[in-house]
Amino acid sequence: MIDVRNITKTYNDGAESFQALKGVSFKITDGEFVAIMGPSGSGKSTLMHILGCLDTPSSGQYFLDDKDVSKLSDEELADIRREKIGFVFQAFNLLPRATVLRNAMLPLIYAGVAEEEREKRARTSLLAAGLDEDHFMHKSNQLSGGQIQRVAIARALVNNPTLILADEPTGNLDTKTSEVVLGTFQELNEKQGRTIVLITHEPDIAAHAERIIMIRDGAIVEDRKNAARKVNRL
């Protein structure tokens, strides 16, 4: 459950100050698949950082699972990220020297999960993200772009987060692979009831979500149900 109340974010760069978010409010209930859409410079990245607890708002409140996380310190935010948030990045950000399995279990290492348990959970996540067991011991340079992003999705799933935040997850993929990855997100949403927030600037990508929040110049301009939801069935 996400409850964002009148959030602003101002960047002070010496004499100049720039307001990236000008009072944003919305709620996302558990199990929703939401796309946050907007052109570059709209403030969607800033919003993503705040939703992902990588940053705190200048004013306003952000309740994640009924806990106000808008005033926490860096170290407290790290705890929240570890327990409640799974990230999927445009640039994948896998460790090139580690195996697929090791990459997928990385968040569990910081969460202090016991070793046997880690491997079990990493395997489950990788299978849920649609990755073949043959690839588990491969390094990321032996995988295709789509497979790499599935490993990243598995890594986001592994700590069983409240929220999966995907920041332009298909930005580095071709159209066909993009569809496959988006299909994975939809499946996770439908079959496992995962809450997914997808940040993108492409309407085509946003069309896979069941709700679309449009943001422009730091404010929400549209928040609608996506009736014509595009469905990928693998």
Binding site: H49, G52, L54, D55, D74, E75, A78, D79, R81, R82, E83, G86, F87, F89, A91, N93, L95, R97, A98, L106, P107, I109, Y110, A111, G112, E115, R155, N159
Partner: protein, 407 residues
């Protein structure tokens, strides 16, 4: 993060760029190895100098003719044969000073010695029966000079092992043979045990004759070239040395101690002087080696800073998925400490190997003790922490958002 995880991460990070890790480790290896090798050489030199000083006897005070060194001392090299000590001085020291275990008056000179077609030029030392005790000399064959032989001006000689091999063919028993010293025939009555001394005061290359014979036949007067006094124990050495000085000043009618016509040397002083020289030498060697260790440490820091920059996005990702500052800094610190510890282990092995090689090839004896090894390990771990701390802190303090965007 468990210890196993830290090991796993460290291993995978260091093995990702083996050439770079290897070269960085090499810097530490050279530093540690040279510290250990240099300290071993220094301590070996110290040990051999001390043992060679100790081998001339124990609790020894040497009284030499000639002026004592002090303020206003003038070079008296032209007075090498100063004749200020006489046999009665030695007798007086023995009889009048407390805590004296033995007194060995000596008169030495270098002469040409011949024996059945061979000849050598060596030191001939006129001594009394007290000499073996004072100078810690043992008899291998035959016997040493007795008091009776001294009183009767006997023409008998005891040879050092080097002299034996110079004068007689291998396998010949020198005892009972005759040798000619300065044209006079002496009968060999004994051979001393080799002491393995070397350098300027080789005690194996010597011939001993009765003191009275040396005074009568070689010098023609009853002066002495040295009186060796053995104190009863270590603690009484200073007292004995002071008493000798005042006794001889009185006997020689000298009121001003700076004008003394003799000098005394305490064995402990010689050991202390030599030790301070060799320890300065050891510190110097270790300091030079230590510089290379610091250079190795800078190599570590350089590598770690490069690594942190290269892995900025990795750090960003780790922070995004919940790693705390401590997790990140521990990881990078573990990498630098691992580098220095591996370097420390290889360097220690290499340093010991170098020390052994030097011992087995050269004349320098090396001595490996646990202290420099412990020091090397401690220093390498500390270098890892010191030079790894700044890069690790830099990694830990990265902002995750900026780190993730880093190109």
């Amino acid at each position: 993060m468990t210890t196993t995880d830290i090991f796993h991460e460290t291993y995978s990070a260091l093995s990702a760029n083996k050439a770079r890790s290897g070269l960085t480790i090499l810097g530490i290896v050279i530093g540690i190895a040279s510290v250990i090798a240099m300290i071993s050489i220094g301590q070996g030199a110290q040990g051999s100098i001390q043992s060679s000083i100790q081998s001339i006897g124990s609790n020894l005070i040497m009284v030499m003719p000639g002026a004592q060194k002090g303020p206003g001392y003038q070079v008296s090299s032209g007075r090498g044969g100063a004749r200020t000590l006489i046999t009665e001085d030695a007798t007086a020291i023995m009889n009048q000073i407390q805590n004296v275990a033995a007194v060995s008056p000596q008169l030495s000179g270098r002469y040409q010695i011949t024996a059945k077609g061979t000849n050598t030029n060596t030191s001939v030392n006129g001594v009394t029966s007290a000499y073996p005790q004072v100078r810690d000399v043992q008899i291998a064959e035959g016997s040493f000079i007795t008091d009776t032989q001294n009183q009767s001006l006997a023409k008998v000689a005891v040879l050092g092992p080097t002299t034996v091999s110079d004068l007689f063919a291998t396998g010949t028993d020198p005892v009972g043979q005759t040798i000619s010293i300065k044209g006079l025939l002496f009968t060999v009555i004994g051979v001393t045990v080799a002491k393995g001394g070397s350098g300027f005061n080789n005690q194996d290359d010597m011939i001993f004759v009765p003191l009275s014979s040396a005074q009568r036949y070689f010098a023609g007067a009853d002066y002495l070239s040295e009186i060796d006094v053995q104190a009863a124990d270590q603690n009484s050495m200073t007292q004995v040395q002071n008493d000798i000085t005042s006794l001889l000043l009185t006997r020689h009618n000298i009121s001003d101690p700076t004008q003394a016509d003799f000098s005394t040397l305490n064995q402990a002083d010689i050991v202390a002087a030599a030790s301070s020289v060799t320890s300065t030498f050891t510190i110097l060697l270790a300091a030079v080696a230590g510089i290379s260790l610091v250079v190795g440490g800078i190599g570590i820091m350089n590598m770690m800073l490069t690594t942190v920059t290269e892995r900025t996005r990795e750090i960003g990702l780790r922070k995004a998925i919940g790693a705390k500052k401590k997790d990140i800094s521990t990881q990078f610190l573990a990498e630098s400490v691992m580098l220095t510890l591996i370097g420390g282990i290889i360097g220690t092995v290499l340093g010991i190997a170098i020390a052994y090689t030097i011992s087995s090839f050269g004349s320098i004896h090396t001595q490996i003790t646990w202290q420099p090894i412990a020091l090397a390990f401690g220093v390498s771990a500390i270098i890892g922490i010191i030079f790894g701390y700044y890069p690790a802190r830099r990694a830990a303090s990265l902002n995750p958002i900026q780190a993730l965007r880093y190109e």
